[in-house]
Subunit: 316 residues, 2 copies
Amino acid sequence: MPEAVLNDAAPRLIALDWGTSSLRAYLMGEGGAVLETHRLPLGIMQVEGGDFAGAFEQAAGDWRRRWRALPALAAGMIGSAQGWVEAPYVPCPAGLEELAGGLVPVPGAALSIIPGVVQHGDAPNVMRGEETQILGALSSHGDGRFVMPGTHSKWVEVTGGRIRRFETHMTGELFAVLRRHSILGRFVREDDPPPPEEVARAAFARGVKALRDAPSGLSPLLFSARSLVLTGGLAREASLDYLSGLLIGEELRAGLHAMSGGLALVGDAALCERYRQALSIFGVTAVELLGDTAAAGLWRIAGAAGLTGAGLEKNP
Amino acid sequence: MPEAVLNDAAPRLIALDWGTSSLRAYLMGEGGAVLETHRLPLGIMQVEGGDFAGAFEQAAGDWRRRWRALPALAAGMIGSAQGWVEAPYVPCPAGLEELAGGLVPVPGAALSIIPGVVQHGDAPNVMRGEETQILGALSSHGDGRFVMPGTHSKWVEVTGGRIRRFETHMTGELFAVLRRHSILGRFVREDDPPPPEEVARAAFARGVKALRDAPSGLSPLLFSARSLVLTGGLAREASLDYLSGLLIGEELRAGLHAMSGGLALVGDAALCERYRQALSIFGVTAVELLGDTAAAGLWRIAGAAGLTGAGLEKNP
């Protein structure tokens, strides 16, 4: 056993951010420091034959053999009905206590799964994974409004350290299906080179502005991603950036209608930067970028559940 | 030659409603009477190797041999860049005079094609085929607002007998791509039997109402077509009808924002009935259903272009 593991950097937790299309495993030490990271293309949709135990072994087997009693905690779609073990949603308002209290153990795997969160109502909302990122964001940020761009973007309102309510916008998925399967994707082929950065950025901004200034939202504007090209008003290779601007613009229009004030962006840096650009076009400049906060959230929830208590460094 | 063709029912025009996915050919007589109809799965996307002449022959060859000098006129995507001969768009405002004046002959085919209409602007709109249906609708209806539901629904404002402005809503295409390619289509398989009629109708109405009552439109509601099923609030087999209600509701919300007052619905009877149901949920009950008016429009435009003048009945 190398001496290093007995010092301040001694591993305390294996934390898994296990979503639909990817798995990130973090070896975490004192204070939530990330000691090592493994990224694997083993999202729950890629795990063959439902062999989640095998995927867990690939992601963290070496760590688990080296530090035998290390606790492990997972967040994300791994806790869905299509995942390893279903971790029932906890209802809003949900904070550290509710999430830590709702952990579901995976039998025989020395792993627990964080529940998702449900907001009941006429148009319910569910999240799995984002609740953990929110808890991570709250380790460096107070109550507020959080925007988490992605396939299914979440707009989350936090008060008293608890997720009070949230919305889902299917912006990323809409873009993907319209690009691949609708008439709006016909001008750009999958293997075409992207347009020059300034052309892409201008087309994106144009889409956001068109949406911002539209009196009735996206519905009558969507087709302009085609008609502008047909009538010579938009370069064919810029049509997808314009479309992206329209779709993100629509998300902002609707989201800002429900939640105004300063916003914090959580998630992938490049995507958050795109949202920051769009928000500035909407006049919202009080925006913080918090990055990926999943590991921080896993650490906090593990702590609240007593998984990262003293004594672990002695186990090896 | 049977005697019948020399009486009042003598053919005067071969009229083609030639769109992306279907071709309808009408043999028309005095006063615009439809004497015979041929429906063929020969939309411009189905015509192999661009053999439009062959498709025209399949649709109308027997009529053309029987009445050799019969004029022929076509409307729709056949006049697009992907069609037989491109018929450049005429700009709004466009009525009988502009459309008849913009006919483009197909060399060697004794056929002319009606141009589409373009509305220039920051978010341009184009139509091909709908302008002809509008002219047909105007043969039995005065100026007003026309809604033409479909893959790309058109909302058209007509004043002084001319198409003044219009909007495009990609409602039908959105439904198709979301059903086939997004997570919202996962609850119903292509070969599942449809739900009972009253279940489907109630789910559709629920989607329309949810949209009508939503403060910020479709974006935060779309995901409810999934989350309602996940949380037990909607039967899995009714999820597509609910989704259809959301999408049509969004079209109505946006369309009614731009154009209020009485509306006339043009097009497929079953789809128009669905829109009438949705409009009544929005409190719009002054709605007329005009049916398919393409043949009537082709007849009017042919007349204005002098194609259906006297003397034709002598040609055979």
